[in-house]
């Protein structure tokens, strides 16, 4: 068997793949957080709950209405995005003029309420969600066996991340978003409906979380706590990348996923810690984050 640094190549590549898949979710989730924070200046603590909500929408569509994975891939982000729109209109928009702490506390409370509701009805043990038949099985890559669904998740997350990046950096709507991030009052004085832009942005960020949730459902179990398990790491990713940096969130998401995977190979005991160690070092050396602009 081929060895690298005394580690079998299969084990190394296997863990790198796991890291890449985890990184795909980190990237998608931290991207949504970065988009929301950039424009709304709200640290969206409900992001993990919205991810969980996306998975549950898929699960409930399947178990109650018999609607399968592919329609759910559209419907789950749509439902979670609409939920985000309603939350922004009814509550979050009233907090913009207050201390940013209120937005953080509100979304934190919202996350607890959402998780509490689902825990009450569905318990804490996960519910399985089957891999869609089209993506069942796996492919032998020669050096390792790749489950098709996991390959799809990596591809899908790259498409989502690139699509969101292009939307923000390359379109007219995106130029409104970037300008409003710099100076919302002036953009509004130019005649752009900035309050609507804020609502749509929170909706988009929430929808990204929902999409990550339905993509995650067949890999991790659908459980009320799946979001809170993940969101702490995602916040670390956002801090490392730099708050509000779109590209930073994406690149850092994949990078830290891979770093986690590598650590599992070489020093498994530290695999849960490595992200936070990197975060601590980055905060010491470059407080604005790797891709952040210095404040």
């Amino acid at each position: 068997m081929t060895m690298i640094f005394g580690i079998p190549v299969q084990a190394l590549l296997g863990q790198l793949l796991v890291g890449l898949i985890n990184g795909s979710f980190y990237a998608m989730l931290s991207l949504g957080l970065a988009v929301i924070f950039g424009l709304l200046r709200v640290i969206n603590f409900a992001h993990g709950a919205q991810y969980m909500l996306g998975a549950f929408v898929g699960y409930l569509l399947l178990t109650h209405l018999g609607i399968g994975y592919w329609p759910a891939l559209i419907l789950a982000p749509l439902v979670v995005g609409l939920f985000g729109v309603v939350v922004e209109r009814l509550a979050l928009s009233r907090l913009y003029d207050t201390d940013p702490l209120y937005g953080l506390l509100f979304t934190f409370g919202l996350a607890l309420v959402l998780e509490g509701i689902f825990r009450y009805y569905y318990g804490v043990s996960g519910n399985p969600y089957a891999v869609p038949t089209l993506l069942a099985g796996g492919t032998n890559l020669g050096f390792m066996f790749l489950p098709n669904y996991r390959g799809w998740v990596v591809v899908a997350s790259l498409i989502v991340c690139f699509g969101t990046w292009a939307l923000i950096e390359k379109t007219r709507l995106g130029s409104y978003l970037r300008a409003a991030t710099e100076n919302p009052r002036l953009v509004q004085a130019f005649g752009v409906n900035v309050p609507l832009l804020l609502t749509l942005t929170y909706g988009l960020g929430s929808a990204l979380a929902g999409l990550a949730g339905i993509l995650a459902a067949p890999i991790y179990q659908v459980s009320p706590l799946m979001g809170s398990d993940l969101i702490i790491v995602v916040f670390a990713v956002v801090v490392v990348g730099g708050m509000g940096s779109i590209l930073g969130a994406i690149v850092t998401g994949y990078m830290l996923g891979l770093a986690e995977g590598l650590t599992k190979v070489f020093y498994p005991e530290a695999s849960n810690l490595v992200v936070f160690v990197i975060m601590a070092i980055v905060l010491l050396v470059r407080p604005a984050g790797l891709f952040g602009r210095d404040a």
Partner: protein
């Protein structure tokens, strides 16, 4: 002056920053096609007047009527759609947007605005730098861009806050030429300006502000007769 209704009529305008009462009943009128300059010492409320007219300051009372529309009742993002454009003192060029993106950022609010190509004919420098980030431009170019992007929108009136501030004389002259060109095209302009010589070249009329209100108004022709008053209030 024309006897028709003014394009912009401001009366009894009060405005507050937090607890600070900044405007104490500003009255002014600007007629279509005029260039009117607000004069006054620093911190007297000239910028505040423009921002309160535009609705950027929400704590305001009084009347602001533009082209028959009551601007006091409109949310900020509806104001520009009445046909009024704002060029802030700090210019408001966006660093994460290219020159092109900065130029087309303000939505078109009425027909009759210039096309991007016409604007580039007027500002060849901007065309050369169209793909650079907006804030990589020189101060003068940024000021040109801040005015240029309003010309696309079809607004009838511009509120210009100190367009010559911190710029070299040759650039100031170019901005003077630009304002003359705009005037020829029928643009109405309300200008806040510290540069008295510049203002006396471009303006049809002046308003003099003191302590948050307008204390005098006179046409450019009377400037010579008013120099004593101006010396007293402006120290020019």
């Amino acid at each position: 002056m024309t006897s028709a209704a003014p394009l912009l009529a401001v009366s009894g305008l009060n405005a507050w920053y937090g607890e600070g009462h900044a405007l104490h009943g500003v009255d002014l009128e600007v007629f279509a096609g005029e260039t009117v300059t607000l004069l006054g010492r620093n911190g007297i409320g000239k910028t505040t007047t423009l921002r309160a007219i535009m609705g950027l300051i929400r704590r305001r009372t009084g009347q602001v009527v533009f082209d028959g529309a009551d601007l006091m009742r409109l949310p900020l993002h509806r104001t520009a759609h009445q046909g009024i454009g704002f060029v802030p003192e700090e210019r408001g060029i966006f660093s994460t947007l290219t020159v092109d993106e900065n130029l087309v950022l303000p939505p078109v609010v009425a027909p009759g605005g210039m096309s991007v190509e016409e604007i580039f004919d007027l500002f060849p420098n901007l065309k050369e730098r169209r793909n650079s980030p907006g804030t990589r431009l020189s101060g003068g170019e940024q000021q040109m861009l801040a005015i240029a992007r309003m010309l696309r929108t079809g607004v009838k009136m511009l509120l210009l806050d100190e367009p010559t501030e911190g710029l070299a004389p040759v650039i100031v002259q170019r901005i003077g030429e630009l304002l003359a060109t705009l005037k020829q095209r029928g643009m109405t302009i309300l200008l806040v300006e510290q540069n008295f010589r510049f203002a006396s070249r471009v303006a049809d009329r002046f308003y003099l502000m003191e302590h948050g209100k307008v204390v005098a108004g006179f046409p450019t022709g009377e400037l010579a007769d008013r120099m004593t008053l101006l010396h007293e209030i402006l120290g020019v």
